[in-house]
Amino acid sequence: MPKLEELQDLVQQTRRDILRMVHKVNSGHPGGSLGCAEFFVALYHEIMQLNDGFDMDGIGEDLFFLSNGHISPVYYSVLARRGYFPVDELNTFRLIDSRLQGHPTTHEGLPGVRIASGSLGQGMSVAIGAALAKKLNNDNHIVYSLHGDGELQEGQNWEAIMYASGNKVDNLIATVDLNGQQIDGATDTVLPMGNLKEKFEAFGWDVLEVEQGNDLQSVIDGLKEAKSRIGKGKPVCILLHTVMGNGVDFMMHTHAWHGKAPNDEQLAIGLEQNAETLGDY
């Protein structure tokens, strides 16, 4: 089977994982998770250079930081299926005594996670710090991060965006999940952020847009293009245009499923639209 089809199967299985995880505990954030399935699969299975096993310091490998921690379902699914922890552990999402907390954390020792996130706007600073450590260690690997678009309303991001270009943190690729939705509605309604490409460029970043953020090949191509721009004196930003709730028709193009779980009937419809590929956990 060609690699792309294998990855596409992973994407579809990830969508099933997301739906089943949030359905079981009747909580969690399926919308943004579904929208980023292609990004996570591409990153962890095609783009990043990763060592075997998990070491917090991540010397000699690429690193990823999830800033918008509420999309933990997609993160957990992809980490598990990449081998960081048993896939069956996805069964424990949001349950008492679980390593799979509602928002990702290092506190319970879940392999693959290097920072807690959930309170928004903090991940880019952390990613910059990790990128600076890589430079100090003469470690030629890349630091990736993912941020929600609504999350950019948090001011700390702009401190970090200013710092990264001002200090030539050019081993960093920060991706913004541009789905245009947040809890209370469209980002343009809640707090318009204007032209993000122009804003990042004005702050001295190298910006590229991936218009089809739910097309696996486009995402892979975009990430490869971003990689090619590493080490040229500027941090790199990918504006990833995605659809919240992608792959489940009734969840798409609305903020309604940002933080709401499907009921039994809705789950059945969602799973029907995403047939099992690699086996459910």
Binding site: M56, D57, G58, I59, L63, F65, T105, T106, H107, R114, I115, A116, S117, G118, S119, Q122, G123, M124, S125, V126, A127, I128, G129, A130, A131, L132, A133, K134, L136, N137, D139, G155, Q156, E159, A160, M162, Y163, G166, N167
Partner: protein, 317 residues
Amino acid sequence: MNYTNQGNNDTRSGFGAGMTELGRTNPKVVALCADLIGSLKLQQFIDENPERFFQVGIAEANMMGIAAGLTIGGKIPFTGTFANFSTGRVYDQIRQSIAYSDKNVKICASHAGLTLGEDGATHQILEDIGLMKMLPGMTVINPCDYNQTKAATIAIADHHGPVYLRFGRPKVANFTPVDQKFEIGKALMLQEGTDVTIVATGHMVWEALLAAEALETEGISAEVINIHTIKPLDDEAILKSVKKTSCIVTAEEHNFLGGLGESVARVLTTQHPTPQEFVATQDTFGESGTPAQLMEKYGLNNKAIVAAVHRVLQRKR
């Protein structure tokens, strides 16, 4: 008094000297500063280790996050800014990215308390000990003089986990031995006594020694304990002392809500109920003035400690 002032010096210079030494001895140590290099006395560290210094500008939230990230890769980051901007301004960044994430960041905070002086209440934080001690896993240290601050700075590099190190602006008595080993969580017995226990932290330690001297002329024997580590608190040292003296005065340059006094009260209430008086600010903001004027007005000097001792002795059974 068994202690002599070796010459007034500021605790922040003790921090700077500690950083200089760490720069020479520990290659993992890196420093970050939010536009206050001179105030934090970091220039020598920077001159000697320019590649290990990060000027983040006036962006404390970003500084805390970058510090957290630098630990991933094995660095030991020391952040430097005023105490107010080291804590209240960035509380959630510290809570999530550092404390909850178990990151080995040393939050080093100068200009704590009223002795910052003329800049006034916007900069005089009196709540920082409380804010920091409430965070699970956070170690909270408030050294008393130049020598102790230098020793503490060096010691916390070898402690794995987040630390809040609080020090100040003015030149104050430098009286602890220059070579005294700093043990995190270990109280220091400065002077033994039998009638009352005085436990003090930070700038109030020297005031406690002056108070004990004054009390001695009245025939009151005060035991003076230096609590430099507010969390974890040396419960045993406090309990041992009050079992002898049966009353205690706590002294700190901080609000009585959330400070050293409350931590001591928790230990005593649960293990050995003892009359206690608090020398601390009384749930108030500060104001502009000289450090001495402010410490006088807000009841944070040796006279206030003496008065508190008189009060607590009356309550002693």
